[in-house]
Amino acid sequence: MSRIGARLLTLWAAVAYGLLFAPIMVIVLFSFNLPTGRFNLIWKGFTLENWRHPFQDTALTDAFLASLALALGASLIATLLGGLLAIGLSRHRGRGHGAIELLLVLPLTSPEIVLASSLLNLFVLLNLPRGFGSLLIAHSLFCLSFAALTLKARLGGVDWSLEAAASDLGASPLRTFAHITLPLLAPGLLAAFLLSFSLSLDDYIISAFNAGQVILFPLYIAGAFQREISPQIHVMATMVLLASVGLLGLGLGSQRGTGRG
């Protein structure tokens, strides 16, 4: 590659990263804004007040907590079921493998609006009330595919013969699981859980259809959009960002550790 071409490519990459982070910088910056009206959309001046009272808006805080609880429950279900599926698939190849993989990929490649409306459809047909339960089903479903495929990708490099070696050496199945299987799976399980958690926290469309009376963080923001955009929204979004970047860093760190070992 010519020198000028390489420079242009680097410049382009810098612009692309700038673009990727533009809205993120707005979110972080506006968490320090001192808005004059009810809409935190125009820069007025710097303040630390929003960060000193991040939970002052109680309706917003309740919505945020509901979202966290839902994300926790949905990611646990998705990681458990997805983990079992991924282990099952990685230990067996044969007829039907492709069909199961396709079944796993399809929820990811279906438009969210279709998942949302079809689930609502079924809940109406079955007379299931919409609320936390229906949300748990819906969120764990779309997280399941992500969790299973993330784990499956990680399990490609796992050496299952270690398990056989452990039992040959006289380890009980439980001991083999605790000392061999679980440590082999742990980084993948963590990655699947974190991905599911952030996907659940982020979802708007599926929640809008199936929430019933439950108000989640994105639903609150969408509802408030015409009335009020408080700086606390930006504070919470920044918190979520910091937490996920921290966890991502931890994940990368642990991945590096297992790679060396």
């Binding site: 809205p23 399809l106 708007y204």
Partner: protein, 301 residues
């Protein structure tokens, strides 16, 4: 991925490990396959009354004719907007993916992580941040005016009355932004597989950067490219958030139409018909991609 050496454990247990697979498969059948299957009878039903979501199955095929007639323009506009957004996102993502793959060196993992990090904040808050960026007094318009581009963009219909927010252009920008990781990740997976020795050989034999690109890099990046395009077009086509928050009343897309049919008009059967049409279109695209290139790049991200 293909034909990995079979482990001894698998050979000892040739039967399917149903104990491991059953719970997850059951969950998928119950809450993915069943709801989709239930869309079909729903799409042939009629609402019982105007106040509840209750329906009666009447085998009404006319629902399809009516939604096609009513929403064909919306469907076409969605395809145009999502297509344009994919093209714009590709112009940004392709060089970025090349730079990460060929120049990233040992920071490759971190550079890829940085592409994903912005998407760890709330989708809605990110979209609201875009309303700040695209606002009448916002930085994007200020830069365009300073560069003297505002007049030209107005004449080709990107800006309307000097505004960007609440236009179709804003929706396309928002859609394109959200497509970037879906394009960069599969592209990097494809570009990664290009051997550096192959690149050196190509540079020697084909002489020149363009030859290397057109004869080696571009063809080998195609699986990632098409996977990325499929992964971008699908959420782009069905998106509800960007048209709702960045667009004007005339920039609504097919997702907004379905949402409106269900949550406002209570026309659940028609919404089901429209959702099935959309799903059929999208599944055909996915199957075509899987048939041609396998599912490696699709699942990579």
């Amino acid at each position: 991925m293909n034909a990995s050496p079979r482990s001894p454990a698998a050979e000892a247990r040739p039967r399917w490990p149903w104990g491991l697979l059953a719970p997850g498969l059951l969950w998928l059948l119950l809450w993915f396959v069943w709801p989709l299957a239930a869309l079909l009878p729903m799409s042939l039903s009629e609402p019982r009354d105007r106040f509840s979501l209750a329906v009666a199955f009447t085998g009404r095929l006319a629902n399809y004719g009516e939604v096609i007639q009513q929403y064909a323009p919306t469907l076409l506009r969605s395809l145009q907007m999502a297509g344009l957004a994919t093209l714009i996102a590709l112009l940004i993502a392709y060089p970025l993916a090349c730079w990460i793959s060929f120049r990233g060196g040992r920071f490759k993992g971190m550079l890829l992580g940085l592409v994903v990090v912005p998407f760890f904040t709330s989708y809605l808050v990110r979209t609201i941040a875009w309303t700040t960026l695209l606002a009448d007094q916002g930085p994007v318009l200020a830069v365009l005016r300073a560069l003297g581009l505002a007049g030209g963009l107005e004449s080709i219909g990107v800006l309307s009355d000097g505004r960007l927010l609440n236009t179709a252009a804003a929706v396309v920008i928002g859609l394109a932004y959200n497509m970037l990781p879906y394009l960069v990740l599969p592209l990097v997976v494809s570009l990664e597989s290009i051997d550096s020795q192959l690149l050196e050989a190509a540079a020697d034999l084909l002489a020149g950067g363009f030859g290397t690109f057109s004869r080696v890099i571009w063809p080998l990046s195609l699986p990632g490219l098409t996977a990325g395009v499929v992964l971008s077009l699908i959420p782009g086509m069905g998106d509800v958030v960007n048209p709702q928050f960045l667009g004007g009343p005339n920039d609504r897309m097919i997702g907004n139409a379905i949402q409106n049919l269900v949550l406002v008009q209570r026309q659940v059967p028609k919404a089901a018909a429209l959702a099935l049409l959309l799903m059929t279109l999208m599944t055909m695209a996915v199957l075509a991609q899987v048939r041609r290139h396998g599912s490696r790049e699709l699942t990579a991200s």
